[in-house]
Symmetry: C2
Subunit: 340 residues, 2 copies
């Protein structure tokens, strides 16, 4: 049997991030048959009257089709994960991390151009669905899946269903205010959780430490410019045993734990899965997260332990989840019907 196999056996999923787009073709058996990666276009760019993001999605789909032996024959649908509030019709309503994405009818613009059913959903909800279907939260009836990248996204499984909310906007956990006098956020508020506990949060914590005269060797890594310090520099130094760098990661871990304990009190998950771009740093941060979470969770010593585990699907989680959402051809709750 050729890759792409019989009609209905393959679904495409594309995850649109702030910096890169990852597309893949997923078989009903959970196999990845094709993959395509490109830089995300500048959010404000347009071409021929369409946002560049739409062109890039179509181009990614074309690349996947080329890689599949049967092309688009036998491809059932296209799923797209986007950062921000995506309504039930597939329109991106609000995207603080993708400025020109506000009020973009992604599904509508794609449908006419791709000749396939198109389903658009929130990227973190896609990642959560993937981890719940095929990854670290498989089998859980109540789970919280947190995606730590440039910002923070979330997906919630409650009583064996993806929690969607009244409009499909549930899981916007990154803009939970945890310090009203904290730094300004892209959303306009102050002290959102993602200003502390994301990749950009780590960079900010690191620059603050660098300006305070800590992190000497990390600043050296960054060309002796405190403002050029990035999260990767801190992680690299900490991995090499730099205790000042590790203390910045501990601070990051404390903020991650604060938000996780807030959410665990509201949702009472049986498991917490942490993924996203920051997951590479997670082994250095996880011990602090676990310890601080236990200190902060209400009644932690009177309730069963809530495991906090790394995501299993890595950077593919969002694209796999987008394909799963599209395969099910719905944005409703509930686990996928096929076995995988």
């Amino acid at each position: 049997m050729k890759a792409g196999g019989p009609a209905g056996a393959v679904t495409l999923g594309i995850d649109v991030g702030g910096t890169k787009m990852l597309g893949l073709a997923l078989s009903d058996e959970g196999e990845i048959l094709a993959q395509s990666r490109r830089a995300s276009p500048h959010p404000a760019a347009t071409a021929a009257g369409h946002p560049a993001a739409v062109h890039a999605l179509v181009a990614t789909m074309g690349e996947l089709a080329e890689e599949l032996a049967a092309g688009l024959q036998g491809v059932r649908a296209l799923g797209v994960g986007m950062p921000g509030l995506v309504d039930d019709s597939g329109r991106l309503r609000f995207a603080p991390n993708l400025p020109a994405g506000d009020d973009l009818d992604v599904a509508g613009r794609l449908r006419g151009r791709v000749g396939l059913p198109v389903v658009v959903d929130n990227d973190a909800t896609c990642a959560a669905l993937a981890e719940w279907t095929l990854g670290a939260a498989a089998g859980a009836t109540d789970a919280l899946v947190v995606t730590l990248g440039t910002g923070i996204g979330g997906g919630i499984v409650a009583d064996g269903q993806v929690l969607r909310g009244a409009q499909g906007f549930a899981g916007e956990i990154g803009h939970m205010v945890v310090d009203p006098s904290g730094p300004l956020c892209t959303c306009g508020k102050r002290g959102c959780w993602e200003r502390f506990a994301s990749g950009s949060g780590l960079a900010r914590l690191a620059r603050e430490a660098a300006h305070a005269g800590r992190l000497g060797s990390v600043v050296h890594l960054a060309g002796d410019d405190p403002d050029a310090v990035r999260g990767e520099h801190v992680s690299a130094a900490a991995a090499a045993g730099d205790t000042e760098a590790q203390s910045v990661l501990d601070e990051l871990g404390w903020w991650i734990a604060l938000g996780l304990s807030n959410l665990a009190q509201v949702l009472d998950p049986g498991i917490v899965v942490v993924g996203g771009g920051l997951v590479e740093t997670l082994t250095l941060v996880l011990p602090t997260i676990v310890r601080s979470f236990a200190e902060m969770l209400e009644g932690a010593d009177r309730r069963p332990h809530i495991p906090i585990v790394p995501a299993a699907l890595g950077e593919q989680a969002g694209a796999i989840g987008a394909a799963v959402v599209a395969r099910e051809d719905r944005r409703g709750p509930g686990a996928p019907t096929s076995g995988l």
Copy 2:
């Protein structure tokens, strides 16, 4: 037909608060057939080896039975709402607002003494169930019900079910940290939402304002002692047109809105219901809550309006909900089966 009617027609519900206990007998038609009220015993008090709270529950039940024409004949079950983490077996695991309640097997201690099935649940979950069944959230598929009293409790309805979580502990919204450098909480953390947005939060905000030299007439109401200022003094002065008092209520409203917008982003409710002891003050605070909520909710102008409305069942919500939980004889999710 006598009150108490045929077998199975009546359920008792008792709401145990930090300061008072309210019991009632609820008919299957939603009628309140009897009512009993008493001060909550001191949490640390015991009598004959049992916590005084257990004696008080039994005594309340006895009063309800006396008031019912048929006594306990025809009474199906007893439901009890308690503040804190109540597990699925009816054991109170952790109760920061009821110190000696920690690890008290309320259901087990009552079962042997009352000759009725006993179901124990979180008080705010009971109140939410009541508002969803008979009150301000009736008909909603996604709702957030917030109880502002001495502390803050919450109940969540998601996709037509009460969200319980893995252990039945969901909805503990009061201990969400919103300012890590804020005042110490009864739970041991700093800056929990209920330190700002509850009855005790109002009193604290008012005392701070009084010590800062504001609130002259309110301090006078409190016998010229800034430390004696209570929330009622502020509400009374604001209702009489005192602008300094109103500005303290506006501060309270801002903190309430901050927590509500955090939760609305996570849960995306179709409606938010606010009840509890602080509800008397709500007419003075609601305009600020609504305005600040719209300012803080992510993408508020890109999504349907989320109404914030006062609870409909007043101080009886918790006891009515406790009866509803017991009538359904379960702690699982889902709407009550009977019509009401």
